[in-house]
């Protein structure tokens, strides 16, 4: 443990020193990879237990759009995101809206946030987006002309994400949540507070996603409803995590690294003449991933245990 910890520390030190050596473009890429990795990790906190949410676009959008004055905006965005998580999560978990029904309800939530942002065009600029007023170097407004500051911030965020993952992974909640994902009724029967456990992990996940969205918006300096909320973003989150693996701590990070370098690589390779090329290949890869690694994915989402599909088992009973 101590040797691996030392290796980790050395690796981290090298990681932190990166801005001194690489050109700004790669730094820009790295920052994006880290920020998305943080958001993906936040999603995977739920996703690893089979609670597949298509609503994280909503949490990210709320977080991103509420930090117009960061000092007040970021906590407000996080609070609002958590409120949203309760408003949706509580009835869902209470009334046992699970599996793909849960996915569809959260999908609707994503669209509600996206369309609300577009509709409030007087404040948000609607589909045209919203460019922040640059104030130069300022901790209060969380704006830095130098990328290295954001690099530092994104490393800290990413580490926070991994830390939260570890905490949950080592807690009794993890056992409870795994039991719930296996069989909710049985879990309730042995005294697990299903509602509380699910709600807690959802709240943590939503709060982190909102924080990630806020910092992302702060880094980009430009906000567009389509890039931080809605179905497309929600799907992007889900797919990247699945590509990387939702079950291990670094899985979402790998997913982020994989998808972003693929997108960027293809963009550089094909140039801007072929706008859709990267996502086309991405889409094919996702389908292949799901068809040819079903165990991998089910395992990733359900805790590495091979179980017969639920629909098959339930069909004769109906």
């Amino acid at each position: 443990m101590s040797i691996s910890r030392m290796v980790m520390l050395v690796g981290l030190a090298m990681f932190i020193a990166v801005p001194a050596f690489v050109p700004p473009y790669f730094l820009h890429l790295l920052i994006q990879i880290l920020l998305w990795a943080f958001i993906y990790t936040a999603w995977a906190l739920m996703g690893r237990f089979g609670f597949v949410s298509f609503g994280h676009g909503a949490f990210m959008g709320v977080g991103a759009y509420y930090e117009i004055t960061p000092g007040i905006g970021i906590p407000l965005g996080i609070a609002l995101s958590m409120l949203l998580a309760v408003v949706i999560g509580y009835p869902c978990f209470r009334l046992k809206v699970v599996e793909h029904y849960f996915a569809l309800v959260t999908l609707a939530l994503s669209q509600v946030v996206l369309l609300s942002l577009v509709a409030a065009r007087d404040v948000t600029g609607g589909s045209l987006g919203f460019t922040q007023r640059a104030v130069g170097h300022s901790w209060y407004a969380l704006q830095f002309p130098e990328k290295s500051y954001f690099y530092g911030i994104s490393i800290v965020l990413w580490l926070i994400g991994l830390y939260v993952w570890q905490r949950i992974d080592h807690s009794i909640s993890r056992e409870a949540l795994e039991a719930i994902s296996e069989d909710e009724d049985a879990a309730a029967a042995i005294g697990i507070d299903v509602l509380r456990e699910k709600l807690r992990v959802t709240l943590i996940s939503a709060a982190l996603t909102a924080l990630g969205g806020a910092i992302f918006a702060q880094y980009m300096m430009y906000l567009n409803p389509e890039t931080v909320s809605g179905i497309a973003v929600s799907l992007q989150i889900v797919f990247a995590v699945i590509a990387g693996g939702a079950y291990s701590m670094l899985g979402p990070t790998v997913g982020s690294l994989l998808t972003l370098s693929l997108t960027e690589g293809l963009r550089v390779w094909f140039g801007t003449n072929f706008i859709g090329a990267a996502n086309t290949i991405y889409g094919i890869l996702l389908i292949l991933c799901i068809i040819f690694m079903p165990q991998g994915i089910v395992g990733a989402l359900r805790g590495l245990k091979l179980r017969p599909s639920r629909t098959k088992a339930a069909a004769p009973a109906e």
């Binding site: 809206v97 029904y101 179905i231 996702l286």
Partner: protein
């Protein structure tokens, strides 16, 4: 009553016709194959591109272009089933959802790659009818009429023909039907073809009213899902009624505020109803 409100309500009913058609296709596939095609609206998008290119670029007469679009979307439905759905038939529902989600990604970006993000219109301008000081778009009226006819034809097909009966039987009990000598795989293919054809038909109707662009599926897709889930996934009559409820919310909401907020309203209505009646409005 306010004249514009009446117009909004009528437009809502007319929109409901097309939505009903799409909901029927999706519900048929769900009821029979038990897979949610999250990319269903993007197949409609493909159909609209087929019509656009045949009619505008190659000068094919519009009715023929529509027929080709319907046929090619039926073929696309079969291809999608064989390549993507068949391999994940026995996977967990959430994986099936994700596989068709990958298809959504693929179709939208492939269309962007091929055609760019331009909005294209087939440029057919149908007259606007004036009935007792009400203005009604002829294109919408056609869409409504054809949508209803499509629904009735599908109903008769399912009730009256042998293969239709087999399809209904599979939707009721997929274990036993095999024992009765029905070839499941063939039924699945036929169902996918019908689902694709319905998407093609909807594409013809929508091409008259809307511009084609790679992301047009995002405008209708989520709404169709809501409708199907509200009506109870697989419940065709429920989906049919739900499409008129949702289209009224969108139309009347749009009259009182703006389009985006009316959709927000429809989605919130959906979320609330999922809590009150999780298996659809008409669940027993």
């Amino acid at each position: 009553m306010d004249l514009y409100l009446v117009e909004a309500i009528i437009n809502g009913i007319l929109l409901g016709g097309v939505l009903a058609l799409l909901a029927l296709g999706l519900n048929l596939i769900f009821g029979v194959i038990d897979v949610v095609w999250i990319a269903y609206a993007d197949i409609v998008m493909c159909g609209m591109y087929v019509i656009y290119f045949l009619y505008v670029e190659y000068g094919v007469p519009l009715p023929l272009a529509c027929l080709i679009a319907i046929a090619s979307m039926a073929a696309l439905g079969v291809v999608v089933h064989l390549l993507i759905i068949a391999p994940v038939l026995n996977s967990a529902p959430i994986n099936q959802l994700l596989a068709t989600g990958g298809l959504l990604f693929f179709l939208q970006s492939f269309a962007t790659l091929l055609f760019g993000t331009d909005f294209r219109n087939i440029g057919v301008r149908l007259p606007i009818l004036e009935i007792a000081t009400l203005y009604i778009s002829f294109a919408r009226l056609i869409a409504f009429g054809v949508g209803l006819i499509g629904a009735v034809v599908l109903y008769l097909f399912l009730k009256r023909t042998y293969i239709g009966t087999a399809i209904r039987a599979i939707a009721q009990d997929r274990e036993i039907v095999g024992l009765m000598g029905v070839d499941q795989r063939r039924i699945y293919l036929v169902t996918s073809a019908i689902g694709g054809a319905l998407a093609g038909l909807a594409a013809c109707l929508l091409a008259l009213q809307y511009d084609v662009h790679p992301h047009i599926g995002n405008t209708f897709g989520p709404v169709i899902f809501m409708i199907c889930v509200l009506g109870g996934l697989g419940n065709m009559i429920g989906g049919f009624i739900a499409s008129f409820i949702i289209s009224q919310i969108i139309a009347i909401g749009g009259y009182y505020s703006n389009t985006e907020l009316s959709y927000v309203l429809a989605f919130i209505f959906f979320i609330v109803l999922m809590f009150v009646r999780p298996r659809g409005i008409f669940a027993r």
